[in-house]
């Protein structure tokens, strides 16, 4: 068994004339927690559906856990796969416990472990109420519980945290971290890069069906080459710049008494060392993830 959980080679999926996914290469390994980021309609869900075999690629090949997911024989691979669809839909007339039991049986998992699973996602008290009475957050947790059935080796979560409050979101990420520590591959899709910070090892950015970036968030920062800016407050800033133009070369006034300098990451320390004691409120402004994301989406890189 290789540790390559998902391998996609030159995958294209066309809907009519439009390419939802175009010439996509992707390798996801066991133990990795990967964020798939793109705006709505970038092709994230199509990509995940191709990994599940729900949608067949127009061109290219998809292997999940060593099998082609679109072939009926992929039943074995699917038993080791967990999927949480975007806006998970569950049968409203069944209770939480019944829903989980139904899916556990389909996956040939003992139903006895379900109670612990419901406990883990925090809906044990509501296990015997109908899903129709659940709040969005509870449905999402039950959805996560069904994805966790049978300790899957690959988890595909399509926008799992939309509509969850921050506290829930944290507990959600904790569960995901535990899983990836146990050696499962976790793929999380999201439309906001900032949200994934600190939760994923690697980010794949998609735009209009194409992969525009692939790497760690720090790596993406380097790749984006958006320079950090240093900003400080100085009394009589304009006069200082005029009098000592050598020392303040490159600095530009932003507003009354505030100066700003854009420099390379490697120069930050030397610039700070050279500052006079009278400089106040020194700030280092690095590009936010949203700016980074916007830069990738614009195709600037």
């Amino acid at each position: 068994m290789t540790d390559e959980t998902v391998v996609m080679r030159g995958v294209t999926r066309r809907y009519g004339r439009q390419d939802a996914v175009c010439d996509f290469d992707l390798t996801l390994r066991a133990g990795e927690c990967v964020g798939l980021v793109g705006h709505n309609g970038a092709g994230k869900s199509t990509l995940i559906k191709m990994m599940l075999g729900l949608v067949r690629p127009s061109a290219g090949s998809v292997r999940v856990l060593g099998e082609d997911p679109a072939v009926g024989a992929a039943a074995r691979a699917r038993r080791e796969l967990g999927y949480l669809p975007e806006n998970v839909a569950l049968h409203p007339s069944m209770t939480g416990a019944e829903t989980l039991a139904f899916y556990a049986r389909l996956k040939r998992q003992p139903v006895t472990r379900n109670a612990a699973l419901l406990e883990r996602v925090g809906i044990a008290p509501a296990a015997h109420r109908r899903v129709g009475t659940y709040s969005k957050g509870m449905r999402q947790r039950l959805g996560l519980a069904q994805a966790l059935l049978g300790s899957p080796r690959a988890l595909l979560l399509d926008e799992p945290t939309t509509g969850l409050d921050p506290a829930l979101r944290q507990s959600f990420y904790e569960i995901i971290r535990d899983l990836s520590r146990d050696g499962a591959m976790v793929l999380l899709s999201s439309h906001a890069l900032a949200e994934l910070e600190g939760h994923v090892d690697r980010v794949v950015v998609m735009n209009q069906g194409r992969k525009v970036a692939d790497g760690s968030i720090a790596g993406l920062r380097g790749l984006a080459a958006i320079r950090p800016r240093i900003r400080l407050r100085l009394a009589h800033a304009l006069r200082a710049v005029a009098n000592e133009s050598n020392a303040w070369a490159g600095w530009s006034p932003v507003s009354e008494g505030v100066l700003e300098l854009s420099c390379e990451e490697s120069e930050v320390v030397s610039v700070l060392r050279g500052l006079p004691i009278s400089a106040q409120d020194i700030e280092i402004i690095r590009p936010s993830l949203d700016e980074l994301y916007a830069a990738f989406q614009k195709g600037a890189i």
Binding site: L52, G53, V55, A75, F102, L106
Partner: protein, 275 residues
């Protein structure tokens, strides 16, 4: 097989939960009891048994009601789940698409079978208790109940075919009503019109047989109105039945084919559908 049973079990439980089973059983029982006691009253002391009369009127009721119930039960089965998004999740599990269709069919047929057997059975037993001893008609009654379930199966299969053909639940519902109208009302009227206009010149007896077999509702009607001489003697159409030369085996075969063909077509279409 295991997966089929799991899905069938879920459909059965759904049927219990949303009162489908209760409602259809109660409806069929109420109508059957009404027909059994009110419909049998005019037989009086005539030689025809009350149960035989009930069979004739019940099978006419079945032709209208059972296809409608079956279509209402089934038209939503695929398109509804795709629409709500539950199908994508289900297909991510180790289940093949034919197992889903077969499992749903088994579950829905189970609901139909329970409603028919219980609903009509109550009427049959009530007649028996009321003192209308009529042992000979019990065979015909059993055939009637069994073929009613089979007729339900036919329209469940057609409902699935409709459900896999379209992309919208509303459209599926509309087509289902259209299918019901066509097979239950329009087909016979059109057939009658053709026969009258044709005056037996081009439509031969063989052609008529084929046309009757092409409508599952007609196959069911012929099967029940000519099954036994006891019932046949009372049902006016017996003459037609005798002359068609369509034996029970052929009629049952036609009904079975009406289950298998739409179900196979639905499975093939569903296998190719992108969710």
């Amino acid at each position: 097989m295991r997966q089929v049973i799991i899905i069938a079990g879920k459909e059965l439980r759904d049927g219990m939960r949303n009162r489908w089973v209760l409602a259809t059983t109660a409806l069929l029982a109420a109508l059957a009891l009404t027909l059994a006691f009110l419909g049998a009253a005019p037989t009086g002391t005539v030689k025809v048994g009350a149960l035989a009369v009930t069979i004739v009127s019940l099978s006419s009721l079945t032709i209208f009601l059972v296809p409608l119930i079956a279509l209402l039960l089934s038209y939503d089965a695929i398109v509804g789940e795709v629409d709500r998004g539950t199908m994508a999740l289900l297909l991510a599990y180790p289940v093949t698409r034919w197992q889903i269709i077969l499992g749903k069919f088994a579950g829905h047929l189970g609901i139909m079978a329970f409603a028919t057997v219980a609903g009509y059975g109550i009427a049959g037993l009530a007649l028996q208790w009321a003192g209308n001893e009529d042992r000979g008609a019990w065979t015909a009654f059993t055939i009637m109940v069994a073929s009613s379930v089979l007729l339900g199966g036919v329209f469940i299969a057609i409902g699935y075919l409709v459900s896999t053909l379209v992309r919208d639940r509303g459209t599926a519902g509309g087509i289902a009503v259209g299918v019901w109208l066509f097979f239950v009302l329009l087909y016979d009227m059109a057939l009658l019109g053709v026969l009258v206009a044709d005056q037996g010149r081009t439509v031969t007896a063989g052609g008529l047989n084929l046309l009757l077999l092409l409508n599952p509702a007609d196959a069911y009607r012929l099967l029940n109105l000519t099954a036994t001489p006891d019932v046949g003697g009372f049902a006016g159409v017996a003459g037609l039945g005798a002359r068609t030369g369509l034996g029970p085996a052929v009629l049952l075969g036609a009904l079975a084919a009406w289950v298998v063909v739409p179900l196979a077509a639905a499975t093939a279409l569903f296998a190719r559908r992108q969710i």
